[in-house]
């Protein structure tokens, strides 16, 4: 087993375990910390695929900004394991688990039949994901969507302020 494969399996187990603990843990703060772990594992996958720009953006935007916002809101509301809303109907729990598991089973069974899945992914080299090349694409071909996204952010900011204002 090469070092790339060992890293792949390590990061995959980290991501899946973190994701499972997000759903399983009682306290919302623990859920958020496990989700940050999962995002770091996914960033590790991006580095393994040599998508360095996305790895850094994932760490800064997701693990850095979005999850801190979640943590801030949870601590603002002072939520903990005791105030966690309990699922009263245990059957709904089982049905949800069975439905999700069946979806996984169906997708895996359907994808096992396709021939294209044996194609190789280029690991650890290739320069499509470097900042220089992505910047060239972003600021030439995609400059209009890039500017539109600034309008999206402005409207999201105004929307957040309007929604959370007290009794407007």
């Amino acid at each position: 087993m090469s070092i790339v494969e060992i890293l792949f399996w390590f990061l995959s187990i980290l991501a899946l375990g973190g994701a499972a603990m997000v759903v399983a843990s009682k306290s919302p703060v623990h859920s958020i910390l496990y989700l940050i772990l999962t995002f770091f594992a996914i960033s590790g996958h991006y580095i393994l695929l040599n998508a360095q720009f996305l790895a850094i953006v994932n760490v800064i935007v997701y693990a850095g900004a979005i999850m801190v916002l979640f943590l801030f809101v949870v601590m603002l509301m002072n939520l903990n394991a005791d105030s966690e809303p309990q699922q009263k109907n245990k059957w709904l729990l089982y049905i949800g688990g069975i439905a999700g598991g069946s979806l996984l089973l169906v997708i895996v069974a359907a994808l096992k039949q396709t021939a294209a899945t044996t194609q190789l992914v280029q690991m650890n080299n290739g320069d499509a994901g470097l900042i220089k090349n992505l910047g060239m694409v972003l600021f030439t071909e995609y400059v209009f969507p890039f500017e539109i996204s600034s309008v999206l952010f402005l409207s999201a900011m105004i929307g957040a302020v309007v929604i959370s204002k007290k009794e407007a």
């Binding site: 994701a19 996958h45 997701y62 999700g100 994808l111 499509a128 694409v137 409207s155 999201a156 957040a160």
Partner: protein, 109 residues
Amino acid sequence: MPVYYYIFLAVALFCIGIIGVLIRRNAIIIFMCVELMLNAANLLLVAFSKMHHEVLGSNQQSAAGDAQIFVFFIMVVAAAEVTVGLAIIVMLYRNTHSVDVNFLNRLKN
């Protein structure tokens, strides 16, 4: 690495997100599971972009770059979504003193 490892990893992450949305009642956890599903899709897009790169060779730079720009825009939309969504959850908490999504059926009246 064959691409199906990445497909199955992303599908597993996505299904864990779906199970979380179905079985949890805390609105914040449900929201986090949605983020998890977005990230599974991002991971799959990046893996496919690198597969494309491997198949077509390095003279087809832009096609591999397109997928990664797409992931970048998904992150942009997710950031905008989180600000508005958390504002809604804060308002829900202020009105009902709980983050239980089952209280949202009061919107019926």
